[in-house]
Symmetry: C2
Subunit: 463 residues, 2 copies
């Protein structure tokens, strides 16, 4: 083993001022937006500016068996990029160039550190977009979106990250550079390592470049529907009815009463009707108006009070309420944001389970859902306990309640995590979902890519 | 090593009459639709009727180190399922049940042996479809589509197999059963082994069940455009112009003069204009008519003689010409059907390369292309050489020409195989595309899943 001081000296030799050991940088690298922070501070933050920088860091790390945690903008919600004692935080945030845009081939080649919204602003000027739109799109990087396999509001209609990446340039644990995937829209030469890397949370390699599959901006109107229901179960039944009716909104978001109350308070709006839940639905494309009318009919038949607008600004205002959920939760205390997904028909039952857990644990669990794809974000809000340190430790009782939530989702045919990833926060439940055989096989893949275990150790797989 | 006789006895003990050693079955298992056949005949064909049957075969194979080649309907085009001397042909063709259809969750659970068209006929009754539509859909199985990562005519708009599978049940080399993936439309718990298995051509496991992502049948009109161009390059330029104009047909097929001539002869139609090439384009959905008009304008501006029909039967008649390509080639001699793909903007250059190879080798290479996604099928037609046996050996000169084709595709940013797979026929070029490091890593994955090497040995990776 090389000493930490030797590793630091080697990094400084190779990377000069891009090695940052300022207390502010080290402290920031411990945390993401999950509220969780790694114990201890990393050895250094390296602000990589090039593929060669990333390779240099990995070579030093591999030789010295020093853990490396790749970071983008630090907006993760599962602790996947949190960097702790003895580890190198490898930031690719400064690698933020758009290297190529090809409208004729509907692709773009980008570096991983570019912010999702910045990329989309540049693409919009050419009539193009990259569809993945996590709620964090204004602050999260494309590389982070890829590392977590992010979803978003539009993905029931326009797909998730996995549907929108053609090829990846990846630096392996030992510093070698691989080009995975294709520039073509079809390609079956060998195993699909591009998909394997997407959502691998920095445990298999470091994404240093991405060839993205673009779409044309959708022409035509955008219609927005706001529908209020007496309670969250009624809203969930209504959203399932939309899917079952064969209608495809571009966005269908559900907010329960506690979520609405918190956001209305944050935005200084009139308080919402007590107990009421809301669906916010958008349609787009050539059939936007007809689709909106048909969806409005389904929602009314399901008991909703429905308003339709064809005004884009009013539509954006309605969606702002949904997009303000995360900041609203931050005003309430420390929050554990969960991310279960269930088949769409099971949404009402999943809300029943959440209500049961609220009663059993004496909790309020404000919940929003991407109802169009069955992905729920229950928010466990708690006071940091007296004993908890800066790592934002979640009280055991909250974990017990979250464990019940996970088991309920699995019982309903669902998953622990629809779009946030496993990170550190869900790793102890992963084997429950995968089964021991698959869990062991996945660990085998991890060992194959990273035989010395330097890439984000302790994440995804519980030690 | 257990003797072949012992293995056969164990199979008969476990599987009784489902073990087939009739000469006809053994002979059929040697070949697929590529024209290539494995040397020698397999030990036996096992007609698995259940997951337990597949597990029993794998356990016996694993214990005795006997190779197993999984087969569906034998319609592959790369020799991937060809079963040779000393190997077990494991047919899952009889496992053809639809286990579940959930219109509300837009999913179906099926066994692997069901024919694509049979599944879609059953789904259509509920207003649903599974989008992948390889040209072989009337004769190929869903399991085979998954094993090759098949594409088809509609995939520029509606995606390939990888976009249409949520979860897989897979029997590993040692007989254990794994459940990969999710019933939910989103899910990022651990590595995406579902995508890894798709297109793995029987080398990582045996797919015994699939949870498919369905779509609603697209309402509205279907418009079909037939556009004739003076030569194939003009047709390719025109198809690239359609993509570059931001228009999205559901189908855009290109046929060169030699292809048209062969199909017209097969179908006893009037001979086509000498040298002329054709684009057959379809649009669907709410904007079908407007899209068709816009595409027709682009094609006319590119020099095409354009006819548009809104009649579905006439549209099907036009597409029948395209779908008759494979039988038409079979009338010409033995055919090596290639499957390169390039970025869509590179289609004209790729046709230039094909013309250059035709001149250099004194060949005619009838070529069709899924022009909407840049996937070309050049057909190398040859007389079986005097020396070639029943394995349909391709003459060296043809392989030399194919090698030039592959290198040209790679130079243009393309791939060896867009949708047919590597099988035996393209394995010697795979490392050229992947690079040695990635090729070795992929072999490592193969060894992890199949440490004793019993699953389809010699396929995908050259020995």
């Amino acid at each position: 083993m090389t000493s930490a001081a030797d590793v630091l000296a080697q990094l400084r030799d190779a990377l000069g001022e891009r090695v940052d050991t300022s207390p502010a940088a080290l402290s920031a690298a411990r945390a993401d937006k999950s509220g969780h922070a790694a114990p201890g501070a990393p050895l250094a933050v390296v602000h990589a500016a090039s593929v060669a920088d990333v390779q240099a860091v990995l070579r030093i790390a591999h030789e010295s068996a020093t853990p490396v945690v790749t970071r983008g903008a630090g907006t993760g919600l599962a602790g996947g990029a949190n960097t702790g004692s003895g580890e190198i935080a490898l930031s690719v945030r400064r690698m933020d160039r758009i290297l190529e845009v090809r409208p004729d081939d509907l692709l773009a080649v980008v570096e991983p550190g570019i912010i999702n919204a910045d990329l989309n602003a540049a693409l919009a000027a050419q009539g193009l977009w990259w569809a993945p739109d996590p709620a964090s799109r204004a602050i999260s990087t494309v590389g982070g979106n890829i590392a977590t396999g992010a979803g978003g509001l539009l993905c029931a209609k326009y797909g998730v990250v996995r549907d929108a990446v053609l090829a990846l340039d990846v630096v392996l644990a030992d510093g070698r550079l691989l080009h995975l995937g294709h520039r073509t829209v079809k390609g079956v030469s060998g195993y699909d390592l591009t998909s394997l890397l997407i959502g691998s949370e920095g445990t298999l390699g470091v994404v240093v470049g991405a060839t993205l599959k673009l779409r044309r901006l959708v022409p035509g109107q955008i219609c927005t529907i706001a529908a209020t229901f007496a309670d969250v179960r009624a809203a969930a039944v209504a959203s399932s009815a939309v899917t079952a009716a064969g209608l495809q909104p571009s966005i269908m978001e559900l907010m329960d009463a506690a979520s609405l109350a918190a956001v209305h308070a944050l935005l200084a709006l009139d308080p919402p009707t007590a107990g009421a839940a809301q669906l916010t639905v958008q349609t787009d494309g050539a059939a936007a108006t007809a689709d909106a009318d048909a969806i409005a009919d389904v929602l009314r038949a399901a008991g909703g009070a429905v308003a339709v607008t064809h005004d884009r600004a009013e539509g954006e205002r309605l969606l702002t309420i949904r997009r303000s959920m995360h900041p609203a939760m931050e005003t309430l205390g420390t929050t554990l944001i969960e991310d279960v997904a269930v088949p769409r028909s099971a949404l009402p039952e999943m809300f029943d389970e959440i209500a049961r857990i609220e009663r059993a644990y004496g909790l309020v669990i404000p919940t929003v859902a991407h109802a169009g794809d069955g992905n729920l974000h229950p928010n466990f809000v708690f006071e940091p306990s007296a004993g908890a340190g800066a790592d934002g430790a979640v009280p055991d009782e909250i974990w017990d309640a979250a464990g019940e939530l996970f088991r309920a989702a699995l019982r309903l045919g669902g998953t622990l995590t629809g779009e946030h990833g496993v990170g550190v926060l869900k790793r102890r439940w992963l084997a429950d979902e995968l089964g021991d055989d698959q869990w062991a096989l996945q660990r085998g893949i991890k060992s194959l890519f990273d035989p010395t275990g330097v890439l984000n150790p302790g994440k995804v797989f519980a030690p």
